[in-house]
């Protein structure tokens, strides 16, 4: 009797346990199922509408914040170009400084001329020997140029705005609707006057059509430069906005500014020296033909040139350009935001986003890819230092010769070799990839530079062949 009651009690208990357990499992399964359902629903919503038109954008909408209302993801990334991050050879580092009356900045990037004082010798007599810092992100382009000490050293023209500010709308206003006329008008203004006409660093409208969002070139310097370059290849009347492919535009919009240039004539017209081609030799030949010099070297009297960040030109000599890879493929790689695929508008070094930049094509671990890049850059940097030493030797010899007022053919020839040696060296020094954009071409250019320095020293010793480097080709 007692036994039976116990058994009954047990079976009731175990049945209850079974019921409870089943209820628990069913509850958890329901919770899990609903959670999954909601997750799938959310992912579906993400995938649905990529774009909400909140504001109307026109060809006069200059402020990127207004564009940002329609394109918040891209705008967020764009604003992050304030980041200051070092890579092994590039990038910028925030350095504190005490604001002065002229320059209210309390943070600047590290000084390149203090890192390598040989640069001061190379640029002796030119404003760059006064102040030259590592470039910071796009967000600082206008501020850093407004307050550089170079402004105090030399009276800069309004031409600088072409690439240090968002000028599309200001140019159009100034030219009464004509972009080129506005460009010409601003070129001739003093910097301080031109500065009052612009408000933003590079903005959305500088690369995008406000209606279709398609890429477009807005910089007169590039429009004219690429036309001259294409003409040298036999393509007449090249119109970049009508004739370039979408993939080409993904490099051309960057090439609007990341190029070698000079200010032509008293009207200070910005010109990209591409009429003979994009290679350093062709650019040098162009400068020889038009007889241009940036300044006279203070220590040697040589008619010297300053090369300016020719990223577009050097990249075009490299394997990536040859394989059809655009600037944006590595510097603004596609990324996933929810279900959307957008290009990363936080433009910076691919070394800071190796997975999205490199691994899309190169299936190696990140450490391996970084090692490959830094291997190229290490070698480049060593060779660059050798070329710099060679140039310093030539400048020292020339300086000594100038002190005794030497004024013969050998002196002139050596000065010309200095002009070439330092333009070639500066071409890869001012270029911002430490050789990576085209490693072999960069090494060749440095080799040529070392050779020019050697020939310059020979010229002073009187053993030089009178032949110009061009004639040797």
């Amino acid at each position: 009797m007692t036994d039976k009651t116990q058994t009954n009690g047990n079976s009731v208990w175990s049945r209850r346990r079974f019921v409870l357990l089943t209820a628990l499992v069913a509850t958890l399964a329901t919770i899990g199922g609903v959670a999954l359902l909601i997750n799938i629903f959310e992912h579906r919503q993400e995938g649905r509408n990529p774009f909400y038109r909140v504001v109307e954008l026109t060809d006069e909408t200059e402020d990127p914040a207004t564009w940002g209302k329609n394109f918040p993801l891209q705008y967020d990334d764009y604003k992050r170009t304030v980041d200051m991050v070092r890579t092994r050879f590039g990038g910028s580092e925030a350095e504190p400084r005490t604001p002065t009356g002229f320059d209210p900045r309390s943070i600047v990037a590290q000084s390149k001329i203090e890192e390598d004082p040989r640069l001061k010798t190379m640029w002796a007599g030119y404003a760059f020997a006064k102040d030259f810092r590592e470039e910071r992100g796009h967000a600082f382009m206008l501020e850093d140029q407004t307050y550089t000490e170079r402004q105090l050293a030399v009276k800069q023209p309004g031409t600088c705005m072409h690439c240090h500010a968002s000028v599309y709308v200001p140019y159009k206003k100034l030219g009464g609707g004509d972009l080129i006329k506005g460009f010409e008008a601003m070129n001739q203004m003093p910097y301080s006057e031109a500065r009052t006409k612009v408000a933003h660093p590079v903005a959305c409208i500088d690369c995008h059509d406000p209606q279709s969002m398609q890429l477009r070139v807005t910089r007169p310097g590039f429009i004219e430069g690429i036309r001259a370059f294409k003409a040298s290849q036999g393509v007449q009347n090249y119109d970049v906005n009508a004739m370039a492919t979408r993939q080409e535009m993904r490099s051309f919009v960057c090439g609007q500014c990341h190029v070698e240039y000079y200010f032509k004539g008293p009207e200070k017209r910005l010109v990209y020296p591409w009429a003979k081609g994009l290679k350093v030799d062709e650019i040098m030949a162009y400068y020889e033909e038009v007889g241009f010099k940036d300044w006279t070297h203070a220590e040697t009297g040589a008619p010297t040139l300053k090369a300016q960040h020719p990223e577009f030109e050097l990249y075009n000599q490299g394997i990536h350009a040859r394989s059809g890879v655009a600037c944006a493929d590595c510097h603004m790689p596609y990324k996933r935001e929810g279900a959307l695929k957008i290009s990363d508008h936080h433009v910076n070094s691919p070394l800071l986003k190796l997975n999205r930049s490199c691994q899309t094509c190169h299936k190696w671990p990140e450490e391996e890819l970084r090692a490959r890049v830094e291997n190229i850059q290490d070698r480049h940097f060593k060779l660059r230092n050798l070329a710099m030493d060679a140039l310093m030797d030539l400048i020292a010899d020339l300086k000594a010769a100038k002190l005794i007022n030497r004024n013969d053919n050998g002196m002139t020839s050596a000065q010309n070799f200095q002009r070439k040696a330092q333009f070639y060296l500066d071409f890869v020094e001012a270029e911002n990839s430490t050789g990576f954009h085209a490693p072999q071409e960069a090494a060749r250019i440095l080799g040529e530079s070392i050779n020019f320095s050697r020939q310059g020293q020979n010229a002073l010793r009187g053993t030089a062949p009178a032949a110009t480097p061009q004639a040797q080709k």
Binding site: V19, I40, N355
Partner: protein, 152 residues
């Protein structure tokens, strides 16, 4: 007795709800589409949009779908692979935390390599026998012919 009945009804309701939610989620997520050979269903969750777009433009578009290269031959192997990939892909897609750009895993790479040989056995036999005679690993097809299915 009455209480026990009530319990049963509650229990049945709970189990029914779990099953109902499960079935609805399966249908809503187009779970049945994963049993087919339709390549579009592999891009249901948009994480493989690039691969799908790439395949549409590839040389193999007319002759091979996702399943032809990414599942082994035979129904058992095929559905076992689909089940395993289906679970893990859903798991990582739901929880996040996967490598970008997405990459093929070791096991799936082996299956893909084998799939090349399914159709191209005639031409690959000579290559493979030459290499395996030296005790080398089997030559990888996709290491060189990476873009035949889709570029990335």
């Amino acid at each position: 007795m009455q209480i026990r009945k009530l319990w049963r009804i509650i229990l049945a309701g709970l189990v029914g709800m779990a099953i109902g939610v499960g079935v609805y989620t399966f249908v809503y997520a187009r779970g049945y589409s994963y049993l087919t050979n339709n390549p579009a269903s592999c891009a249901n969750c948009h994480v493989m949009n690039e691969q799908y777009d790439g395949w549409l433009k590839s040389s193999h578009r007319a002759v091979a779908t996702c399943n032809d290269c990414h599942t082994p031959s035979g129904a058992v192997g095929k559905y076992a692979t689909k089940a395993s990939n289906g679970f893990w892909h859903s798991f990582y897609f739901t929880t996040g935390g996967f490598h970008e750009p997405i990459r093929i895993g070791k096991r799936n790479l082996e299956i893909t390599e084998q799939s090349c040989l399914k159709c191209h056995a005639d031409i690959t036999q000579a290559m493979n026998s030459a290499h395996s005679a030296n005790g080398d690993e089997q030559t990888s097809c996709v290491r060189c012919h990476r873009s035949v299915g889709h570029m990335h």
